[in-house]
Amino acid sequence: MASALKSKKIRSSMMIETLVALVILMIAFSFGIVIFMKVTTSGVSGKRMHATNRCKFLADSLIQVAERKDILLFQDGITYKVTFKPDPKTPEILIMNVVAEEKNGEQITKIQQLIQDHEKPKD
């Protein structure tokens, strides 16, 4: 085995070849990191989905009840704001806004829907 190795010449890479390879690898990795970050930050966010589902639940529940009062809720570090204001074009209709916000005030999701004012469920 040792004699076989001795009989062959092992040529190292040239300096320039190693440098080019390093540059290519660095570019490839940096692209990879950028793409990975972009996908993880802008793709499906568990927090946003959670907030959206809660907003939907709030909106659908509040449509069913007669009470039309503004509500402020805090849960898992998210603020949920429910507001009702008359539609400027049709005053007997209310615009219901359900907004989920981060602590810093950044909006996560928003739901808007027109609902009947003083709409009471049938008993």
């Binding site: 390879a21 990879g32 400027p88 808007q112 049938k122």
Partner: protein
């Protein structure tokens, strides 16, 4: 000689990294697309619900298509909807479409009205005559009666069997019945008189027509009045210049029949609205499912007595309405056969004749009640018939015709 070839190895690694990154990017993109598609769908559904609230307002006129932005928020995109309202017989028809780019959500539904008086069982116009009650009759609910009130009577060897005359509150009625919505009545008249509609004469074996399309009007020739072995549903008005006869072998759903005389044969089952100017005859054991309606509009110059007759053991879930503009000697009459059941409202600017063992789960409004026992007609008598307001489902939704300017409408029935 073995070459270390770092460049080749690094290129292969780079390609591998590129493939992995590409896959992550693709997966992220697909997720993102899917998420935005679901989000858009939910937003369109919510906008369609908002548009439904809008279209049910009284301020929306019949016939016009409105394209509106729901919210005045400048940042908000995709809140465009089109709304349309039409009269569909005794009810209103709401059509809404919410859309964004090429995606859209459509909704068609019948609009009903919550009842103005949710406890009224009987309204008899005050003609200075009391109402007489006899046999196994029962009035359950609020009764608006003439000032002369109600009394028990002895008819056909039987006394009134109840412990009290009215099982509920009584009030005084006025000389006229509460006026129905005249715009809707004009709509019925337009339907009865319209002869210049684009219309077809062929009635296919099976026909279903979307409410998002213009109304399909089929005019039956005078010599072919029979609707037999047909399956017809949707946005269709079937009219005739004389008679329409519907056989029990036919299946009709949500269609409107317009003719001077309409006859529904025994055993028929379906949901339809009938608008007639002369008479409507419902055979025995017919089941008209909710929401059905029988509308009789007496022509202003007619010299006959128009009539709605509902046969023995038939069931009507909806409304029966008989109207004449000017009070005449030949007032319209609604005849309810023996054992027939009405779940809804009866309104007649004339007579309502309740047969033995007939049951009205809802309300009756009329100038006079009438009973026909052994070929003798008793005016302002209730004999062996039950009017039970409490028997009406709490989910029952009426027509704007009787409940106009009361409350905004509500969705009565979702249509395809």
């Amino acid at each position: 000689m073995i070459r270390s070839s770092a460049l080749y190895v690094s290129l292969i690694i780079s390609i591998f990294i590129a493939l992995v990154c590409g896959s992550i990017l693709l997966a992220g993109f697909v997720y993102k697309m899917q998420e935005s598609k679901i989000k858009r769908g939910e937003m369109l559904l919510r906008n369609a619900a908002s548009a439904s609230v809008l279209v049910m307002q009284d301020s929306i006129a019949y016939g016009s298509v409105k394209h509106i932005k729901l919210f005045d928020d400048q940042n908000e995109t995709g809140d465009s909807v089109t709304i349309e309202k039409r009269q569909w017989g005794l009810y209103e028809l709401g059509l809404v479409v919410s859309f964004k780019n090429t995606d859209s959500v459509k909704r068609a539904f019948l609009i009903g009205s919550s009842l103005k008086d949710s406890a009224m069982a009987l309204y008899i116009a005050d003609e200075d005559r009391p109402l007489s009650i006899s046999g196994k009759s029962r009035i359950q609910g609020v009764a608006y009666l003439p000032k002369s009130g109600i009394k028990s009577a002895y008819v056909e060897s039987s006394y009134y069997e109840g412990k009290q005359l009215v099982f509920g509150r009584t009030g005084e009625s006025s000389r006229e019945l509460p006026l129905p919505d005249t715009n809707m009545i004009n709509g019925f008249k337009d339907l009865l008189s319209a002869s210049n509609y684009p219309r077809e004469e062929d009635l296919p074996e099976s026909l279903s027509y979307s409410f998002f399309l213009p109304v399909k009007r089929i005019h039956l020739p005078i010599n072919q009045p029979l609707i037999s072995n047909k399956r017809i549903s949707g946005n269709i008005i079937i009219s005739s210049d004389s008679l329409i006869q519907v056989e029990s072998s036919s299946k009709l759903d949500k269609v409107i029949l317009v003719a001077p005389y309409v006859k529904i044969s025994s055993g028929f089952k379906g949901s339809l609205q009938v608008i007639a100017s002369d008479s409507i005859s419902i055979g025995p054991s017919v089941q008209l499912t909710y929401p059905s309606a029988l509308v009789l509009i007496k022509p202003d110059t007619a010299g006959f007595q128009p009539k709605i007759s509902i046969g023995k053991n038939s069931v009507l879930r909806g409304q029966a309405f008989a109207w004449e503009k000017q009070r005449s000697q030949m007032m319209p009459i609604i005849e309810i056969g023996h054992g027939a059941i009405i779940k809804g409202e009866i309104w007649s600017k004339g007579y309502v004749q309740l047969g033995k063992s007939s049951l009205i789960n809802g309300s009756v409004s009329a100038i006079h009640l009438m009973a026909n026992i052994s070929s003798i007609k008793y005016e302002n008598y209730l004999i062996d018939a039950i009017i039970n307001r409490d028997g009406l489902s709490k989910y029952y939704t009426g027509s704007k015709l009787f409940n106009s300017a009361h409350k905004p409408g509500s969705i009565l029935w979702h249509l395809h």
